[in-house]
Symmetry: C2
């Protein structure tokens, strides 16, 4: 028997068609359905915030990747933070705040111990909830382990990061500063550049929309580039390749400039710089580090507690705005980690 | 006072102009000059064989690389094997057979202890001299250290190598077989493919000129590609990128398909496969391993002595044929390590 005061209606956004180029309204359908009764071991999570990520564009494509594609008519995949509102599981009780793969919908229902995208409890008193989708969530884990495990920064080295004001970039730069590196960001527009320098403590930032990245690298990386953390691909990757040092490490995290291409992806024409400089280009997928997320949360959490680590979120309201909000990423319109608020806390 | 029976005349090939695209006759001048008298500490080496390498094309370009360019009107750089014919050095005596940077000329003269391209003695009784420009020389060292140090092969893994019948490819495949790997070559034409399978013991070879590399990889690498040793770049690199395994290693040794481009180099459009597969692409320059060459000579030499390691050289005669011989490389016309014989032994 249900203890619901009234039937819950679940609004959802589903993938209607695979996009060609930039997603449009035709790629999405808005659906609603009642939330079914719980079975033993299941929970209902009311979605509060979802993370809007460049990776979503890849999930919309068919074909093999590091994760299965979202199927046509499936609820769009999204990481989120929510509140447990019903529970027939010993694992969670009503009122728990959890993080996991909610999808782009108002309510998630399923087994509490589901393997993929399993929910885990988070502490709302430790940090505001949107930060659990930023430095304390997947983007933060990506930045932390990509930089430290693949980049292996040494104090005094020069680290360059693109998408510097974005979710991953913010954390890459601040972790690199904590490790004693010189940090140069690349971001679009003066506001973002001022933010990463003045509020996050980067040593410099190159505004790729209003200045030459090549000249900026010459000016701000007088000793060359030891580590490049790439979130954008395309011409910026190619330009950085001309400035790398011997034994440089390039972390391939994403290529947002290329995700909506209708022509083949632009490969790095200057990749032979890897040969000349005995350098390395290596990919990272955050899920590989799941057993070690706690290390990152602990270290970055302690920096936050000491006021030495800051993050910025760009929060948009309302599930119906999901399609437009996603496209903000590809137009560089977000300023900080992009989060969609689905319901009031 | 000279003890020469008559003055030595040195025929040389010099870089006349930097090439655009494939080198032509206009890029070279043939010069001759007398060999000057020796000063203390100097030697004269009579060049017997020189190594014809894809890297030569890069040395002809201006601009920064892993080694300084050959200057206009400078004798073209080449590694070679020769005989010491005059000596005012304690380091070498007349009759010694040596290997070093002879250049494309009949006689090299200079300080016996010159730092760059220093000569070292080799043992003509251990192996025919051209092999000192192949597996026991720079191509062999490149293959050995690139595969083992960057590729880190484990028994049972699948190794793919392009330019399989070439100088580096021959050794890569045979070292990988010795380490217990499955080895698949990529080469141009049935003869080369038959050679690497039947004479060198590769498990399979894909004839890129007469069949689909994509289909060949599917057929011959049923468990995917763990290591790709790339000598060619271009479309073959892009195709292999679609077949790599998780944590694959790609060794960037060269990109012969791109060296004569008059348009920008074709970057690997599928480089995001590195991300999906958490894979690595890394460059190698052989000079870094100079302190360890002796390890490679010892191990490969012992395999040769046991009849478990074979090499093939393609020997062309005569210094005047240098320009045409170099271009054979770019047209895929050589069959085995390309060597130019400058004088009879």
């Amino acid at each position: 028997m249900s203890n619901r005061p009234h039937p819950l209606t679940n609004h959802q956004i589903r993938l209607a068609a695979r996009p060609v180029g930039l997603p449009t309204a035709d790629n999405w359908t808005h659906t609603q359905e009642p939330v079914r009764e719980l079975e033993d071991g299941e929970i209902v999570v009311k979605t509060l915030y979802i993370s809007i990520d460049p990776a979503m564009r890849g999930w919309m494509n068919g074909g093999k990747s590091y994760i299965r594609p979202v199927e046509i008519n499936e609820v769009m995949r999204a990481g989120g933070v929510g509140r447990v509102v019903e529970s027939k599981s010993d694992k969670f009780k009503v009122g728990d705040i959890v993080s996991g793969s909610t999808g782009v919908q108002e309510y998630w229902i399923g087994a509490a111990d589901n393997k993929y995208g399993a929910f885990y409890k988070i502490d709302p008193s430790f940090a505001p909830l949107p930060k659990y989708l930023n430095a304390l969530g997947m983007p933060g884990m990506t930045a932390y382990f990509g930089l430290l495990d693949v980049g292996m920064p040494k104090a005094g080295e020069t680290v360059v990061v693109s998408g510097a004001a974005g979710a991953v970039g913010q954390t890459v730069g601040q972790v690199a500063k904590q490790k004693g590196c010189r940090v140069v960001g690349i971001a679009g527009g003066k506001d973002k550049c001022d933010f990463v320098v003045n509020e996050l403590g980067f040593d410099a930032c190159i505004d790729y929309k209003n200045s030459s990245v090549k000249d900026g690298l010459k000016e701000h990386c007088p000793n060359g580039v030891d580590i490049y953390f790439d979130n954008v691909g395309g011409e910026i990757l190619d330009t950085v390749l001309t400035r790398i040092n011997m034994k440089a490490r390039i972390i391939i995290c994403g290529a947002i400039s290329q995700y909506n291409n209708t022509t083949p992806i632009q490969g790095p024409s200057n990749y032979l710089s890897l040969l000349v400089n005995r350098a390395r280009m290596e990919g990272i997928v955050v899920f590989d580090y799941a057993p070690r997320y706690h290390e990152a949360v602990k270290e970055m959490g302690s920096w936050m507690a000491q006021g030495q680590f800051h993050t910025r979120e760009d929060i948009v309201q309302g599930i119906d705005n999901f399609p437009a909000t996603l496209n903000m990423l590809f137009e560089g319109k977000n300023f900080g980690k992009l989060v969609l608020q689905i319901a009031a806390e």
